[in-house]
C-alpha cells in the first residue's frame, strides 16, 4: 500500500460547507426523520419498559423503564450514527457521486471524511435529544445531570460514525452492511447492558463487554439518569474518544486507498 495513504489527517474548517449541504438535504425530509428518531425508541421503551417492567422489581436501584431509558439513549444514538455513516455515507460516496463532485473543488478527502463523521454525530445528537425529551416528558428522570446526555450523544455519535465509516470504505455495495449490523451492532446491543445489567453475563462475556464502546456509553448514561455522577468518567470518555479517533484514521486511510483507484 502507498505510504502517502498513512499521512496524518489534515483538518480544516472546509468540512462546514459539506455539513451544510447534508443539513439542507435533511431539512427537506425533516418530518419523517424526526418521527423516526422519536417513534422507534419510544416504542421500545414503552413496550419493553412497561411490559417487562411490570414483572420486574427494581433493576440496579431504578425502575426497569428508567433502566431501559438510559440504554435506549445510547442505543438510539449508536444506531443513528451507524445508519448515517453506512447507508447514507455510501450513497454520497458511491451512488450519487457527491464526493466526486466535491473533490473537484478545493475541498480534500480529509475534509469530506471529517464532515461525514461530524454530520453523522449531529444526527446522533438529534436522536439523543429526542429520547431525552421523551424521558423528561414521561418523568423517567428529573435529574439536571441528564443534560450531560446531550454532549454524550455527540460523543457516542462520533465514535460509531467513525467505526461505521471503516465499513463504508470497504463496502462493495449496500448488502455488505448487513454483516456489520448482524455481527457487530446486534451482539453489542445484547452485550453492553442496554436491556439488562452486564453482570448477568458469564465472566468471559463480561470481559468482552468491557472492551466495547457501547458499554462505556451506557456506564456514563445510566448513573446520569439516576442523578449520580458516573464512576471512572475519564476511562469511559477516553475509550469512546479512542474508538472515534482510531475509526477516523483507519477509515481515512481506507478511503484514500479506495478513491485513488
Amino acid at each position: 500500500m502507498n505510504l502517502s495513504y498513512f499521512s496524518l489527517p489534515r483538518l480544516s474548517r472546509r468540512f462546514i460547507p459539506i455539513w451544510r449541504r447534508n443539513f439542507l438535504v435533511w431539512k427537506k425530509m425533516a418530518g419523517s426523520s424526526i418521527l423516526g428518531h422519536l417513534a422507534d425508541p419510544v416504542i421500545y421503551m414503552l413496550g419493553l419498559g412497561y411490559g417487562l417492567g411490570g414483572m420486574l422489581p427494581e433493576v440496579n436501584g431504578m425502575s426497569y423503564i428508567a433502566f431501559l431509558a438510559a440504554g435506549t439513549v445510547c442505543y438510539s444514538t449508536m444506531n443513528s450514527a451507524s445508519f448515517e455513516a453506512l447507508y447514507s455515507g455510501f450513497s454520497r460516496m458511491h451512488e450519487q457521486r457527491t464526493w466526486e463532485a466535491i473533490l473537484n473543488t478545493p475541498i480534500t478527502l480529509d475534509d469530506i471524511v471529517l464532515s461525514e463523521i461530524i454530520w453523522a454525530a449531529s444526527k446522533s445528537l438529534l436522536s439523543g435529544l429526542a429520547v431525552l425529551l421523551v424521558i423528561w416528558l414521561l418523568g423517567l428522570s428529573h435529574s439536571p445531570l441528564t443534560l450531560w446526555i446531550i454532549p454524550l450523544s455527540l460523543l457516542v455519535g462520533l465514535c460509531f460514525a467513525a467505526l461505521g465509516l471503516i465499513m463504508t470504505a470497504l463496502a462493495p455495495g449496500y448488502d455488505f452492511f448487513m454483516y456489520y449490523f448482524t455481527l457487530v451492532i446486534t451482539p453489542m446491543v445484547l452485550l453492553c447492558g442496554v436491556f439488562f445489567p452486564v453482570d448477568q453475563l458469564p465472566p468471559l462475556l463480561q470481559t468482552v463487554s468491557s472492551m466495547l464502546p457501547l458499554t462505556h456509553a451506557i456506564n456514563l448514561a445510566r448513573p446520569l439518569m439516576n442523578d449520580a455522577i458516573p464512576a471512572q468518567p475519564v476511562l469511559h470518555i477516553g475509550v469512546l474518544l479512542a474508538y472515534a479517533l482510531t475509526g477516523f484514521y483507519v477509515s481515512l486511510v481506507l478511503f484514500r486507498r479506495r478513491l485513488s483507484q
Binding site: S4, R14, I18, R21, Q96, T98, E100, T105, P106, L259
Partner: protein, 304 residues
C-alpha cells in the same frame, strides 16, 4: 507562450497496468485543447492527474504556478470541472445545486446569489431555477453541470466527454456555450471521442492511445500530417473485390471494413472515373476529416 498547464513525462500505473505512459503536453492560456482517444486510452486518468486527484508515479505537472498534486487545492480554486458522469445533487433544485457548490469554494451565499441569474441564463435554465434535478432532461442536467463548473469564475475548465449521451440539439447548444467560453478567454481542456466535436471546438488536439500521445496539433495540421486529403468511400457487396483489383492502381492507401472501402488519395479524379465503370458500387467523395486520422492512428478494431 503562456502555458497554463504543462506535463513532463507523466506516468501512472494501476497494479502493473500502465495507464499513462510518459505523457508530455503543454496547454496555452485561452486555447481549447482536446484530448482524443479510444476507450481506455488514459484520457480520464490524465484529467484526474491534472486536477491532483491522484498522484503520478513519476513526472512533473504544473497547473498555473502550482505543482500538482502538492498544491492542487490552490489550483482547483481557479478551475472548473464538468465530469463524465452526472453527479448533481438529486435532492436539490437547480439554484440549490449552484448555491451549495459555490460554498465549497468558500464563496459567500450573497455572492453566489448575485451570480445566479447570469449562470442560469448561460445554461438556458432561467425558468428552471426552482425545478428539482430529477425533473430535468439530460441536456438540462449537462448545462446545469456546466453552470456549476463556472460558479467560481474559473480560468481553466476541464470537461470529460461533455456531450456524451446527448441528442444533437442538446449537443449543439453545449458547443455554442463552449465557444462562448473560449471567446471570453477561458482555457478549455476537454476529452472526447466525437471527432466532429474535436474538429469544431478545439484549437489544438492530442490523440492518445495506450497512455501516450501519438500525434498532436491543430485539427488541420493533424489531417495534413497524417492522411491524404481526399477520401472516397465505396459501398457494396463487390466493394472489397473491386478494391483489391482496381483501387490499388488509383489510391495511395485503402482500408476495407466489411462492405465498405475507404480510399485515401491526393487526387480523387482517376478513382472517380474508374468508379463510373462500376454502377453496382455506390460511393461518397469527401475531404479527409479527423475521424479518418483517428482511425488511422488508433486502428479500426473495437476497444471495449
Amino acid at each position: 507562450m503562456n502555458a497554463v498547464l504543462s506535463a513532463r513525462d507523466l506516468r501512472k500505473s494501476y497494479g502493473g497496468h500502465v495507464v499513462v505512459d510518459g505523457l508530455n503536453l503543454s496547454i496555452q492560456r485561452g486555447e481549447c485543447f482536446g484530448l482524443l482517444g479510444p476507450n481506455g486510452a488514459g484520457k480520464t486518468t490524465t484529467l484526474r492527474l491534472m486536477l491532483g486527484l491522484i498522484a503520478p508515479d513519476a513526472g512533473e505537472l504544473r497547473l498555473f504556478d502550482h505543482a500538482i498534486p502538492d498544491q492542487a487545492r490552490a489550483a482547483r480554486l481557479r478551475v472548473g470541472v464538468v465530469p463524465q458522469l452526472d453527479n448533481l445533487d438529486p435532492d436539490f433544485t437547480v439554484a440549490e445545486n449552484l448555491l451549495v457548490y459555490g460554498r465549497y469554494f468558500g464563496i459567500s451565499d450573497a455572492a453566489i446569489e448575485a451570480r445566479l441569474p447570469e449562470l442560469l441564463e448561460f445554461a438556458n435554465l432561467t425558468g428552471k431555477r426552482d425545478a428539482r434535478v430529477p425533473t430535468l432532461s439530460g441536456g438540462m442536467k449537462r448545462r446545469l453541470t456546466l453552470a456549476r463548473a463556472l460558479v467560481n469564475d474559473p480560468e481553466v475548465i476541464f470537461l470529460d466527454e461533455p456531450t456524451t449521451g446527448l441528442d444533437p440539439q442538446a449537443r449543439h447548444l453545449i458547443w455554442q456555450r463552449l465557444r462562448e467560453l473560449t471567446a471570453r478567454g477561458k482555457t478549455l481542456v476537454l476529452t472526447t471521442h466525437y471527432m466532429e466535436e474535436a474538429e469544431r471546438l478545439c484549437h489544438r488536439l492530442a490523440v492518445m492511445d495506450n497512455g501516450r500521445i501519438i500525434s498532436s496539433g491543430s485539427p488541420r495540421e493533424l489531417i495534413a500530417q497524417n492522411i491524404e486529403p481526399q477520401v472516397v468511400e465505396v459501398f457494396g457487396e463487390q466493394a472489397a473485390a473491386w478494391a483489391q483489383s482496381h483501387a490499388v492502381r488509383h489510391a495511395q492507401r485503402f482500408e476495407i471494413s466489411g462492405e465498405s472501402v475507404f480510399c485515401y488519395v491526393a487526387d480523387a479524379q482517376p478513382l472517380l472515373l474508374e468508379l463510373q465503370q462500376h454502377p453496382e458500387l455506390r460511393y461518397l467523395h469527401r475531404p479527409a476529416n479527423m475521424e479518418d486520422v483517428f482511425l488511422k492512428l488508433t486502428g479500426r478494431e473495437m476497444r471495449e
